[in-house]
C-alpha cells in the first residue's frame, strides 16, 4: 500500500510538472495581460504536434524536437496575440473569455485538420523503466521532471536578472504605472507570449511523450491547469508550481480510492473548494 502511494506520488510529480508548466503560462498571461487564457491547453496540443513533426518528419531526437516546437509555439503565441488579442487590449473580461475560447476551438480544429483525429505517439515499442527500491519510472518521465526543473530555474533567472523580466514583474504589479514610467508595454507583452509559448511547448511535448497525442490532449488538461493556478494563487509563479504538483499528486493518488476516469474531477473539486475557502490561493496571488 505504502509502496503504491509512493509510486503514484512519483507519477503525480510527473503529471504535476506538466500541469505546473501550463499553470505558469496561464498565470503569467493573467497577471500581465489581465485575462484567463482558455486556449492555453490547445496551444500545448499544437506544440505537441510541432514536436511530432520534429520527431517523425525531421527525425530529430526528442530534445531537439522540443526546441523546434518551442520556437514554433512561441511564434504561434505571438502571432495569435498580434492578430487577435492585441485588438482587444481594453476589452471586458467576458469578451476575452469568448475570444480565448474561440481561439481554443480554432487551434483544436486546425490540429484535427492537419494531423487527423487519431492518436499518435512519438516513439512506438517498449522502453524498459528504471527500477529502484521497488519503484519504477520511465526514462522519459525522469526527463520530464528534470526538464521542468531546468525551465523553472531559467525562468526565475529571466524574471529577476533581465530588464524585460523585471519589466514583466513590474507590469504584473501595475500596468498603468508601467506606462507612466515609460516601460514599452507592448514589447513586454510580446515577451510574455514568447515565454508562455516556450512553456506551453514544453508542457505539450512532455505530455505527448508521457502519454500520446490527440487533438484534445491539451484541452483535457486545461481544468487541472486552471485548478493549479488558482490553488497556488493566480499571478504567482511559485504558487503555480506548488499548485501543479499538488493537483498532479492528488489526482494520481486518488486512483487508489476512486475510478481513474474521475481523475479530472478531483482537480475540479480542489478548484471549487479553493475558490470558496481561499480564493487568492495558498501563496496569495493577484486580486
Amino acid at each position: 500500500m505504502l509502496l503504491n502511494v509512493v509510486q503514484l506520488t512519483l507519477y503525480g510529480i510527473v503529471l504535476g510538472s506538466i500541469i505546473a508548466l501550463g499553470a505558469i503560462g496561464v498565470s503569467m498571461v493573467y497577471a500581465i495581460l489581465g485575462f484567463s487564457h482558455f486556449a492555453h491547453g490547445d496551444m500545448m496540443t499544437v506544440a505537441a504536434y510541432f514536436g511530432f513533426v520534429g520527431v517523425v518528419t525531421l527525425h530529430l531526437p526528442l530534445p531537439l524536437a522540443l526546441i523546434f516546437s518551442m520556437i514554433l509555439t512561441a511564434c504561434l503565441a505571438v502571432g495569435i496575440d498580434r492578430v487577435i488579442y492585441s485588438r482587444l487590449r481594453n476589452a471586458t473580461p467576458i469578451i476575452m473569455l469568448i475570444s480565448t475560447i474561440g481561439v481554443s476551438f480554432m487551434l483544436q480544429s486546425l490540429t484535427q485538420i492537419v494531423w487527423g483525429p487519431s492518436n499518435e505517439v512519438y516513439q512506438s515499442g517498449i522502453v524498459l523503466p528504471y527500477k529502484f527500491l521497488g519503484l519504477r519510472l520511465q526514462p522519459v518521465e525522469v526527463t520530464i521532471i528534470l526538464g521542468s526543473v531546468l525551465l523553472v530555474v531559467l525562468l526565475h533567472f529571466f524574471l529577476h536578472g533581465t530588464k524585460i523580466g523585471k519589466a514583466m514583474r513590474a507590469m504584473s504589479d501595475n500596468r498603468s504605472l508601467s506606462q507612466i514610467t515609460g516601460i514599452n508595454t507592448e514589447l513586454v507583452i510580446i515577451w510574455t507570449w514568447v515565454i508562455t509559448g516556450v512553456l506551453a511547448a514544453a508542457a505539450g511535448v512532455f505530455l505527448g511523450a508521457d502519454t500520446q497525442l490527440n487533438p484534445r490532449m491539451g484541452f483535457n488538461l486545461l481544468l487541472a491547469i486552471f485548478a493549479a493556478a488558482i490553488l497556488g494563487g493566480i499571478g504567482n509563479l511559485y504558487g503555480s508550481i506548488l499548485g501543479g504538483l499538488v493537483i498532479g499528486i492528488v489526482e494520481e493518488v486518488s486512483t487508489i480510492f476512486i475510478d481513474p476516469g474521475y481523475k479530472p474531477a478531483v482537480g475540479f473539486v480542489i478548484m471549487v473548494i479553493m475558490l470558496i475557502v481561499r480564493p487568492y490561493g495558498i501563496l496569495g496571488g493577484k486580486r
Binding site: A167, A170, L177, Q179, T181, G182
Partner: protein
Amino acid sequence: MSETNGNLLVAEDVYGGYGSADILNGISLRVAPGEFVSIVGPNGAGKSTAMKSLFGLIKVRAGKIAFEGREITKLRPDQIVRLGICYVPQEFNIFPSLTVKENLEMGAFIRNDDYSAEIENVYQLFPILKERRRQLVGTMSGGQRQMVAMGRALMLKPRLLMLDEPSAGLSPNFIELIFERIQEINRTGVGILLVEQNARQALEISDRGYVLVMGRNRHEDTGPNLVNNKEVAEMFLGG
C-alpha cells in the same frame, strides 16, 4: 502662443474630465525652466485632474498644452515621458513586488546608456534607499515608498517633475523631509509642478502658486504672496 517662449510647460484654457462632464473648466498655467510651481485648492477643485490632463492621462476636450514649445495635448503618457516630463501619481506609484533598486531600474527602462550615476544620485538624496536597495518596496513604510516613487521619476533626468500630493498620508517628520528633498531636486535645475493638500507648506517653498476652485484658475501669485492673501487664507488655509 507667445507665452510658450521661454517656458517649460504651458497649458492654455484646458477643459476636460473623466466622463461626459468636465472637471476642468478652463485651466491655464505655466512653468518656467527650473521653476517651483504649486497647485493648491479645496477638495474637488480639480488639482489632480489638472495634473493628469497635462500628462495625457485624461482626455483634454479643449485647450492646448505645450512642453518646450512642442504641443503635447494629444500625446500618450508613454510618449510624454520620453520628452522630459516625469510624473509621480498620488497612489500606486511604486512596484511593490520589485526591490528598491529594481524600481529605480524600471524608471530608466527607456534608457540604453549607463544610468548608474542617476541611481547614485537618488541614493544620495535618500540614503535609506541605498541601505535598503534589496528590500521589496511593498514591505516598506509610506514615506519610504514615496522616496522610491520620486527616485524612480528622477531616473530619466526630467526637466519637469510633476508630483501629485507627495505628502498624503505621511507623518509630519516625513512631510518635512519630502518637501526638503523636493527643494533640493529643484535646486539642481529641475522644474517642479506640485499638487498639494498641505497648501501653506507647499506655497511657502514655491516660486509661484495657482489656486484652483471648481476647475478654474482663481488666483495666481508668488508663493509667499498667496500665503498672505486674505481671501486664500480664509478659503482654505485655515485662517
